[in-house]
Each structure stands twice: as structure tokens, then as C-alpha cells.
């Protein structure tokens, strides 16, 4: 049954978003890599090496996602660290049938959203919370423009963009992770890309890396 909200048709957006599944999803995986489940099992049995491999495998993406969503490097480090600590604390109870990466990334991204939202609510969004302004002495980098444009989106929309294009989750997976209707994810992706596009269209104005 409908909820009574008038939505624009999403079918074209959904088709476009679904057809854009990342091509490199499995390319980066080294051959014969141990599965997360095996590492989790060994970590549950006390293997620091297994835990470290899990950490190396998932930390950087969690940290990156937290930073791009919350926009604060110090908070992002804390958020990613706390998320992994939560995993360590829950290690014995963790259901190995569940994929570890999405679980960790969902915690990190949700905490980053909460941080960004709380900061916005307190109207504390000063210089400390913004991405660094480019040093006028160094060549302007397109990543500066893009990071700044990303920070112009609301945290919830940022999270969808980051999960899709930085962490390579599908719209369906993102909908699951954030508890959103899939159509909402797709519409946020579409609107987010539209908002971000100008950031890469300034390439003729200066020396871009």
C-alpha cells in the first residue's frame, strides 16, 4: 500500500544507477585471499594476525568514509577507531555468516552522519569542521574542489554518495545499510552527482593535478 506521498517516478534513475555497478569491485582482490569469515573465526580464537589482516583490509575505507561524511579529520579517525573497537568488543558474539565489511562501514558511516548532524545542530560548523582550504601556494587539486563540494551536501546525501562511489556498495546494499527505501537512495545519488558535477568542470581554470 502507498504511504500517500507523491513521488516522482524513479524507474529511469534506478536503471541508470543499477547499470553503473562498479567494474573494479573484485579486480583489486588478491588471489587466494583468505575470506573474512576465516579471519573472524581465527580472531575469535585469539589470533592477533587474523585481526590485523581484518583491520588492514577494512580500516582505511572506514576511515575514508567517515572523513568524507563528517568532514572532520580528527573526528573521522575517532569514529573509525571506535567502530573497529566496537567490532573487537563484539567479536565473540559476531555472527560469521554476516559480512564484516558492510557491518563495519555501516557503523562508521552512521556515526559520521550523527556527528555531522549534531555539529550542524549546535551551529558549530566553523573552520575546524570544514575541509581544509587549498593552500594558495600549491597547485589547486581537483580533489579539493570535490571534497568541498561534497561538504556542501547534507550528511545523509553525502553518506549515500560515499557508500556508492568510495566504498562501491550497490544502491540495494546502501538502502539496507541506511534503512532507506531504494528509490530514496537512487534519487539521492542522482541529485548528489548533479550537485557535484560542477566541481570537476572547473578544470580549465587552473593547474589541476
Amino acid at each position: 500500500m502507498a504511504e500517500g506521498l507523491a513521488f516522482a517516478p524513479q524507474s529511469l534513475v534506478e536503471m541508470a544507477a543499477d547499470s553503473a555497478k562498479p567494474l573494479l569491485r573484485n579486480v583489486a582482490s588478491p588471489p587466494r585471499r583468505r575470506r573474512d569469515q576465516a579471519l573472524l573465526r581465527d580472531a575469535q580464537r585469539g589470533s592477533t594476525e587474523a585481526l590485523e589482516e581484518l583491520f588492514r583490509r577494512h580500516w582505511r575505507r572506514a576511515h575514508r568514509a567517515a572523513y568524507l561524511v563528517c568532514g572532520d579529520p580528527v573526528a573521522a579517525e575517532d569514529i573509525a577507531q571506535e567502530s573497529f573497537l566496537a567490532a573487537v568488543r563484539a567479536l565473540e558474539r559476531f555472527d560469521r555468516r554476516r559480512p564484516f565489511g558492510p557491518w563495519l562501514h555501516r557503523i562508521a558511516v552512521n556515526r559520521a552522519i550523527d556527528f555531522a548532524r549534531a555539529r550542524a545542530a549546535r551551529a558549530e560548523q566553523g573552520l575546524a569542521g570544514m575541509p581544509e582550504a587549498p593552500d594558495p601556494g600549491r597547485p589547486r587539486q581537483i580533489s579539493d574542489e570535490l571534497t568541498a563540494a561534497l561538504s556542501g551536501l547534507v550528511p545523509e546525501h553525502r553518506a549515500v554518495i560515499v557508500l556508492r562511489y568510495v566504498l562501491d556498495y550497490t544502491p540495494g546494499e546502501i538502502a539496507q545499510m541506511l534503512g532507506l527505501p531504494r528509490g530514496t537512495v537512487n534519487s539521492r545519488l542522482r541529485r548528489g552527482l548533479d550537485r557535484l558535477r560542477p566541481a570537476i568542470e572547473t578544470g580549465d581554470e587552473g593547474p589541476i593535478r
Binding site: E77, R89, I113, E156, P181
Partner: protein
């Protein structure tokens, strides 16, 4: 499209500052925490099973006998109001049934997912689910908002007075709310806002459940029927689409959260509309009572000396969630009892979670207001 591809590629190249050093620092912390962690010792099950069996026997005995107080004592002996449920888990980890909770706290409404993860929606009041869990209606001063489940506003409506008690109709197509002394109705997409009644009592209006709908059933009187308390105290029931006045049924009245009807203060109708759960103050105790409409098959599921809050039904109708502020706990009570067995159907057990206030008001020093469960739905996303 090429620009999109280029943009997506650029997004994949974004990085956090100081990634390598941050990783090194984090690994030091995590390795230390891992080395210091205490192995989890599985809780002995025997005591819990004995407790549940006692509760099951109690419920059955009360169902069969009017002498419920004695059995109620048996249950309350186990649940001490000072200490709460002794086997409570230290934090909310997961819900015992499918669905998502909407919880109101000092900081605003939260959505709690089945796996225990939760999201603060923002600085809003009076949060309420849409019937299929796709949206949350909430207020902020003189604003009524429809929010995505992650807190992103879908639409906003400005009122003349302070807005309170929004209630989303079971059809999903109407929201009733109070604005100052007025009762108003707006469509689910935020359009067609209109006055329904002026000068009403400050009581949350209640929609009549529509129950299972047959495909051929198009009778308008089943849908969007609202009950409210007029300024003179009269309880009125009206079809908000046709304007037709209807006779309030007992079920309509039971839906209203009016205080002290028949000694009961808090009540909730089961998802299928067949049963009523009530928190009643009886002889200085709070009892969680479930019965069919008309008082049939009455059973007391819990009795404590401490005050309880709620109750809320799980979407599958198999669990009841009550709050226990004195113990700072939530209790999930199996609501379905096998006819001839001494255990809840399916072997379900009471599930308790501790330190609830702190979890919904993190970072605040001192005591927090005990969070209120505003609904438990199974989102149909």
C-alpha cells in the same frame, strides 16, 4: 554520461588526510584493546529458563483463575524494582522480532533497527511512524515534518500554533495533528492541510484501524476514521474525508490515550486488532495485562512494584515491549502463550536490556529522561 563516469572516478580517488599515520595510531589502540579483552562467558541458561517457566505458569494460572494477585507476586519476586531483571544485557544489541523502533528521547527521536543499531533523527518532538514505516512524522515548534527514516526532511508544514500529537492514518494518506487548540488534517504528501475541529482537548487523536482490506472493499467509511476529544469533553468519531459523524466504538475509545479509563493508564492494540495490552496500576503494582476485546482470555504477563511504561507490540504480535524506568531497562515480553504448555510459544524468553537512558542520551552528564517507545513497525521498503 561521460562526466558522470569521470566524476565517479574522481570520487573513488578521494582520501582522508594523514591516512597512513591514522591507520598506525588506530592499530596500536585496537591491538591493545584486543589483547585486553575478556573472553565472553556464556550466561548460565538454567536460571533464566526457570524464570520464564515461572512466568508462563503464572500467566496461565491467571488466565484460568481470578486469583491473579498471588501469581503476580510470583512474577514480581523475580523482577525486583530496585535491581531490575538480573540477566539484562548491558546494552541494546538487537530486537527479538523483525522491525524498527521509533524512540523519543531527550535528544530527539531515534530509529532503532533490528540489529540494535540506532539513528538520531534530529531535534524533533512527537515522532510517529507512517503505517508502513517508510516515513516519520514529527514536530518542531510550529512545524510539522515528514522525515525519511534517517532524518532527512521530505516535507515541512508551518502551523499557526504549536504543533503536537501527529498521528498517521493506517491508510497512509492522512495525518491528523493538533495545532494550538485546533485539530487539523493534512494529506500524507503535505498537501491539503485543513481544519477538522476547533477547540479540542489536548489529547492525541486516534485513527480507527482498518484491518485486513479485501480487494473489492471500497467502502469509504472504513478508511480515515478519526476519534478525538472535543473541547467540551465529548468523544467524537468522524470520517475525515466525508465529514460523516460516526458512533465511537469501544475500540475507538480505547485507542485514545486518555488517562485513567477504567483504572488503566496505558494501552496498545495488537497489530491484528484482536488483543489489547494494558499497563494497569493494581494495588500499588504495575501489571502488564493482555486480553481480547471484551475481556476474554485475560492474562497478566508481568507485575512489578516499579512503574512500567509502554506497552508496544512487535509487528508480528508476538512480543510486548515495556520500559522500566526505575531499573533503567527495557523488557521484551513474549505475548503469546501456548494453551497447554508452561512456556511461551516457540520457547521465547523474556529479553531485557540495561542502561537504556544513557544509550539514548549519549554524552549528557547526569540522569536522562527515560526514553519512550513511539512505535514498532516492520518497514515495507
Amino acid at each position: 554520461m561521460n562526466k558522470d563516469r569521470e566524476l565517479e572516478g574522481r570520487l573513488r580517488e578521494l582520501a582522508a588526510p594523514d591516512e597512513a599515520d591514522a591507520e598506525r595510531r588506530a592499530w596500536t589502540v585496537i591491538r591493545t584493546a584486543y589483547a585486553r579483552r575478556e573472553p565472553v562467558v556464556r550466561e548460565p541458561r538454567r536460571r533464566r529458563i526457570a524464570l520464564i517457566a515461572a512466568a508462563g505458569v503464572a500467566a496461565l494460572a491467571i488466565g484460568l483463575s481470578p486469583a491473579g494477585a498471588k501469581v503476580g507476586d510470583l512474577v514480581s519476586d523475580v523482577f525486583s524494582p530496585e535491581e531490575g531483571e538480573p540477566d539484562a544485557k548491558p546494552a541494546l544489541r538487537s530486537l527479538p522480532a523483525a522491525g524498527e523502533l521509533l524512540v523519543e528521547s531527550e535528544q530527539g527521536p531515534w530509529v532503532v533497527r533490528e540489529d540494535g543499531s540506532k539513528r538520531l533523527l534530529g531535534d524533533y518532538d512527537f515522532a510517529t511512524w507512517s503505517p508502513h514505516g517508510l516515513f516519520v512524522a514529527a514536530t518542531r515548534g510550529r512545524e510539522l515534518l515528514a522525515l525519511e527514516p534517517d532524518g532527512d526532511p521530505r516535507w515541512t508544514l508551518a502551523g499557526r500554533g504549536r504543533i503536537a500529537d501527529p498521528r498517521w492514518a493506517p491508510s497512509g494518506f492522512r495525518i491528523a495533528y493538533r495545532s494550538g487548540d485546533d485539530l487539523r488534517v493534512v494529506a500524507g504528501d503535505g498537501t491539503g492541510d485543513r481544519l477538522l475541529a476547533a477547540d479540542v482537548r489536548p489529547v492525541a487523536p486516534a485513527w480507527r484501524p482498518i484491518g485486513p482490506v479485501k480487494v473489492a472493499d471500497s467502502s469509504a467509511e472504513r478508511f480515515n476514521v478519526l476519534t478525538y476529544v472535543a473541547g467540551d469533553g465529548e468523544i467524537k468519531t468522524v470520517n475525515v474525508d466525508t465529514g460523516e459523524r460516526l458512533e465511537p466504538t469501544r475500540a475507538d475509545v480505547e485507542q485514545l490515550s486518555t488517562p485513567a479509563i477504567g483504572g488503566a493508564t496505558r494501552r496498545a492494540v495488537s497489530p491484528d486488532g484482536s488483543e489489547l495490552a494494558t499497563l494497569a496500576r493494581v494495588g500499588g503494582r504495575d501489571q502488564l495485562v493482555v486480553e481480547r476485546h471484551g475481556g476474554e482470555r485475560r492474562r497478566v504477563l508481568l507485575s512489578t512494584r516499579g512503574t512500567l511504561t509502554g506497552p508496544s507490540w512487535s509487528p508480528d504480535g508476538r512480543w510486548l515491549l515495556v520500559g522500566w524506568p526505575a531499573a533503567d531497562q527495557w523488557l521484551f515480553i513474549p505475548a503469546v502463550i501456548d494453551g497447554g504448555a508452561s512456556r511461551p510459544r516457540g520457547g521465547a524468553e523474556v529479553v531485557a536490556f540495561d542502561r537504556i537512558s544513557e544509550q539514548f542520551d549519549p554524552g549528557t552528564p547526569g540522569p536522562s529522561r527515560f526514553p519512550r517507545v513511539a512505535g514498532w513497525v516492520l518497514p515495507q521498503r
